[in-house]
């Protein structure tokens, strides 16, 4: 039985929250512009709580089960993060308060900038970007501004390997750049010959996801960076896969010029069913002046009696603001809490065990599923969800069948360079028993695919809804309650 919509639950006259009567004399309302109809649902508080609680129960989540989505880093989100972000001294601070009243906040933000610099090997960090794609936009705008500042205006080409996230080409286009795709070689690395052919004086930069979306660390990364730099370009690092690199290698040490972090992947802030994320950006020394402002810095040195005064500064050649205020401060508090509890050594352990878990699953599954680029992986790997002797079975069917065994499926159909891709990222917070249970189920599903393919084709059987008609959704376009079909 489907959960009704709010508009169906509404009854005229109900109200879930009331406000006090005015304690001031009433002023006359304007005679024009007053709103007549306000078609909002009317419900009691319990109606609302029960409705949304029931909806929540239709969801799969990290708190209820294993969520091995590749490139999404669905690690455990510590509960303490939610407590610290809601401390009244953080949650009720207005973003435009005088800096003297928010020194605790500014110390935290400054510390976060410093830690992200240290972890990535960068000279400067902005906390402003709201998400990974927003960080990418910031980074590419910085690359663009750098070349413009040198009057090197013909550089408008961004190279993007074919294994990249879809955000990379969209970001480059949005920044007014020209996108050229680069092939991967047979080991999953950037094809050096293809790269060399594109290294000319129009090259603005290369967007490199490393480890790439095959879960492989590019074995030629130093050569790739050298070639781009020699041609006058800059290297953007997509930090979506940073979980594999914490304390293992600093992208800045490899010559990466600019990189975004995903606090909602690497540093355990919750994904929230699609956000909010946070996408701070780190840059090398020659790009510090281009960061979006404002940044947090010491604006008055302290002495024996007074602590330093923290405030905001604007970098001299800043690309400008990329959003209102100072970034997703609430997410920064969560990530800060997580980093405090891990420390430097703990972060290295995060990467090591994320990589251990991925290689363990790979070892358990490679005899059953074809792994096209089979070498030691980093935090994730990609295998094919198809067999020549099980015609008709696709990655999608395997994904849907996993749901019957109460597992969330891996990322499917990405990266595009693997047929029927299943991209698995276990994360470090899962124990061996869970990984074994997941591997056992995938092996069993492979048997079913050969012997009882209907079980896969008809899956899932036990979820609140079955396979959803996506064609109808796009054709009939019902996007609001009470509007059955927008365009019909």
């Amino acid at each position: 039985m489907a959960e009704p919509l709010l508009c169906d639950l509404s009854a005229p006259g109900r109200q879930g929250v009331r406000f006090p009567e005015p304690d001031v004399p009433l002023s006359s309302l304007p005679t024009e512009l007053l709103r007549q109809e306000l078609p909002m649902p009317e419900l009691s508080e319990m109606d609302v709580v029960r409705h949304f609680t029931r909806l929540s129960q239709l969801n799969y989540s990290i708190d209820t089960g294993y969520y091995p989505l590749g490139s999404c880093t669905m690690k455990y989100n510590p509960k303490v993060n939610e407590e610290t972000a809601r401390l009244p001294g953080f949650a009720w601070a207005h973003p435009l308060q005088p800096i003297e009243t928010v020194q605790g906040i500014l110390v935290l933000m400054h510390q976060m900038q410093e830690w992200l610099k240290e972890i990535g090997g960068f000279a400067g960090v902005t906390l402003q970007p709201a998400a990974g794609a927003h960080g990418e936009l910031t980074g590419v705008l910085i690359i663009r501004a750098y070349h413009q500042s040198r009057n090197d205006t013909k550089r408008d080409k961004i190279l993007i390997p074919d294994s990249a996230h879809g955000t990379n080409p969209a970001t480059s286009a949005m920044s007014g750049m020209r996108v050229v795709e680069l092939k991967s070689d047979s080991r999953g690395n950037v094809d050096l010959q293809a790269l060399k052919a594109e290294c000319d004086d129009t090259l603005a930069g290369l967007m490199l996801t490393n480890p790439n979306t095959l879960g492989l660390f590019d074995e030629n990364v130093e050569e790739v960076v050298r070639l781009v730099h020699e041609a006058g370009g800059l290297v953007y690092g997509d930090g979506a896969n940073m979980n594999a690199l914490l304390g293992v290698v600093r992208p800045g040490d490899l010559g990466i010029d600019v990189l975004h972090y995903n606090l909602h992947k690497t540093f355990s802030t919750p994904h929230g069913g699609g956000g909010p994320g946070a996408g701070p950006v780190g840059v090398c020394s020659k790009l510090v002046d281009f960061l979006p402002g404002p940044l947090v810095d010491v604006i008055e040195e302290g002495d024996d009696e007074m602590p330093p005064l923290y405030g905001f500064i604007d970098p001299p050649k800043s690309i400008g603001r990329v959003k209102s205020f100072h970034g997703h401060f609430g997410m920064i508090v969560r990530a800060y809490t997580y980093m405090l509890m891990n420390g430097g050594n703990g972060l290295r352990k995060v990467a090591e065990f994320a990589v251990l878990n991925a290689n363990y699953l790979l070892a358990r599954l490679r005899d059953t599923y074809h792994v096209p680029y089979d070498r030691i992986c980093m935090h994730e790997f990609v295998m094919e969800g198809r067999w020549d002797d099980a015609p008709g079975v696709q990655a999608l069917d395997i994904s849907k069948r996993l749901m019957d065994y109460k597992f969330h499926p891996p990322t499917n159909y990405f990266p595009l360079i693997v047929h029927e891709a299943l991209m698995i990222e276990p994360t470090e917070t899962e124990n061996k028993e869970t990984l074994d249970a997941f591997a056992d189920v995938l092996i069993k599903i492979a048997e079913e695919a050969h012997n009882e393919p209907q079980l896969l084709k008809e899956a899932p059987h036990i979820t609140p809804v079955g396979r959803v008609d996506e064609v109808k959704a796009a054709k009939d376009l019902a996007l609001c309650c009470g509007v059955a079909a927008l365009e019909k």
Binding site: E3, L5, L6, G13, P22, V24, L29, R35, V48, S61, T64, Y67, N77, V80, E82, L87, F90, H94, Q97, T101, V102, G104, E118, A130, A131, L137, L141, A145, A173, M174, G247, V249, R250, P270, H271, G272, G273, P276, F325, F329, G330, L340, G346, L347, R348, K349, V350, L356, N359, Y360, S399, M403, T429, V468, D469, A473, D476, L477, A478, L479
Partner: protein, 449 residues
């Protein structure tokens, strides 16, 4: 921390992989840069971390400690307990983007409810699953309008009374295009309403952007502006404060083509500026031009009603470099918070709240005009925010207010050189009459020098 492996697990797993130790898994990393020593503090326990964060939190004075008259794009409103209780549910909070609809009907229906509520509130036909904040929502509107005319119209008219930070973000977002921004430079007339924009709109104009209430708190009827904009073949975007729509006619009824807004007032804590919520709604004919995720209603293979992300062919993961926006992650949990908030208030709660804000702000404004040396900058209709002309620099007055535990208004001279000594004052349901009276009293002390 948060790693469950026993030593025995680790050894068994390494054996299965066929390596001896963890370090063996990292041979692909250039040896010279492998395992750097990170200069970070040593790990501490949860108990210690909470203590440290409490210390940092207590080093701030916030709108819970001070009487807050500061707005300018972020507002101090009451958040009912049920909002946080719902968004803290792990099933919502720790779920991913709903790409697998069978396991995400909760998130998907919640987005659909959010889309319905925002469409109803703004008087528009469709709404997406959100942008990052009010500023980036306007930037996306500019990109949408530019793409709508395939780059053939290059002018965007920005009201000078559009939030200055939004105007900065719009410019940051569009460096590669040849968009010409007009209206908010020296040619802009701050004191006049939307009429001053009329003469700037022509057949090269792609978009006109205004704010409602505007950055100075004023409320104007944009019907005539919409008519003139449409006559020129351009689109009109109105950036809203959603609470005001509990009292005033929504822009959808005035002819707006795009309605954006900062959704923070809808049940989202101030949190020093984020995470907030970028509202984005439009008319149905532009639904395929709008960026961002959309939840649509459909049926499943068992004949049940079911929800799914739809029109995904517009988005970056399919269209790649041909997408008009790279947006991927949005503000899912904040959109949920606003949906719970709007459901709790409903029609009557929202009307009551909007009127309460209106009456309190008007009481404060009236009292301020009684203090010698202070006056209201505009006589036009306003909602819960207004501009006060002050006898002294705003920063001096705010220092004095802070000594009396009052967070004063926004210093407009920071953004508008012509408005030095002008303070933007916000009053919400959170300000008691006592607070307002004290605010007035302290202001009058300043006026006496």
């Amino acid at each position: 921390m948060f790693i469950p492996h026993t030593d025995a697990d680790r050894e068994a797993m390494l054996r299965t992989i066929g390596v001896n130790k963890l370090e063996d898994l990292f041979q692909a990393i250039p040896a010279g840069h492998r395992f750097p020593k990170l200069d970070l503090p040593p790990a501490i326990t949860e108990m210690e971390a909470v203590g440290e964060l409490q210390g940092l939190a207590m080093a701030n004075e916030t709108s819970r400690d001070l009487a807050c008259f500061l707005g300018a794009g972020a507002y101090n409103h009451f958040v009912p307990a049920a909002v946080d209780a719902i968004i803290r549910r792990g099933e919502f909070m720790t779920a991913y983007t709903p790409y697998q609809p069978e396991l995400a009907q909760g998130t998907l229906q919640a987005i659909f409810e959010y889309q319905s509520l925002v469409a109803a509130l703004t008087g528009m036909e469709v709404c997406n699953a959100s942008h990052y904040d009010g500023a980036t929502a306007v930037a996306e509107a500019v990109n949408m309008a530019y793409a709508n005319f395939r780059g053939k119209r290059s002018k965007v008219v920005l009201s000078p009374a559009l939030n200055p930070q939004y105007r900065q973000v719009v410019r940051t977002y569009t460096p590669g295009s040849n968009i010409l921004f007009v209206g908010d430079g020296r040619e802009g007339n701050l004191q006049s309403g939307p009429q001053s924009l009329f003469s700037l709109i022509d057949n090269n104009t792609a978009l006109v952007v205004v704010q409602y209430p505007d950055f100075f708190g004023r409320v104007y009827d944009y019907t005539e502006l919409a008519r003139i904009t449409h006559e020129a073949g351009a689109l009109l975007c109105v950036s809203i404060n959603p609470i005001a729509l509990g009292l005033f006619t929504p822009p959808g009824y005035m002819g707006a083509d795009i309605v954006t807004g900062e959704g923070q007032p809808l049940g989202i804590p101030l949190s020093f500026g984020g995470p907030y919520l970028g509202l984005f709604a439009t008319r149905k004919e532009y639904v395929r031009k709008m960026s961002g995720r959309l939840a649509g209603e459909s049926v499943d293979n068992r004949g049940q009603r079911a929800y799914v992300l739809t029109l995904t062919a517009r988005e970056q993961h399919i269209r790649r470099e041909r997408a008009t926006s790279n947006i991927c992650t949005n503000q899912g949990l904040m959109a949920l918070a606003s949906a719970v908030y709007m459901s709790l208030l409903g029609e009557h709660g929202l009307r009551q709240l909007a009127q309460l804000n209106y009456h309190k702000a008007h009481y404060a404004a009236k009292q301020i005009t009684s203090i010698p040396g202070y006056s209201l900058w505009s006589k036009d209709t306003f909602f819960n925010e207004f501009v006060v002309v002050c006898p002294d620099p705003v920063s001096d007055i705010n220092d004095h207010l802070l000594d009396h535990n009052i967070l004063g208004g926004y210093d407009l001279g920071q953004d508008y050189p012509d408005l030095a000594n002008h303070m933007l004052v916000a009053v919400t349901e959170m300000n008691t009459r006592d607070e307002i009276d004290t605010f007035i009293e302290v202001l009058s002390e300043v006026s006496h020098g």
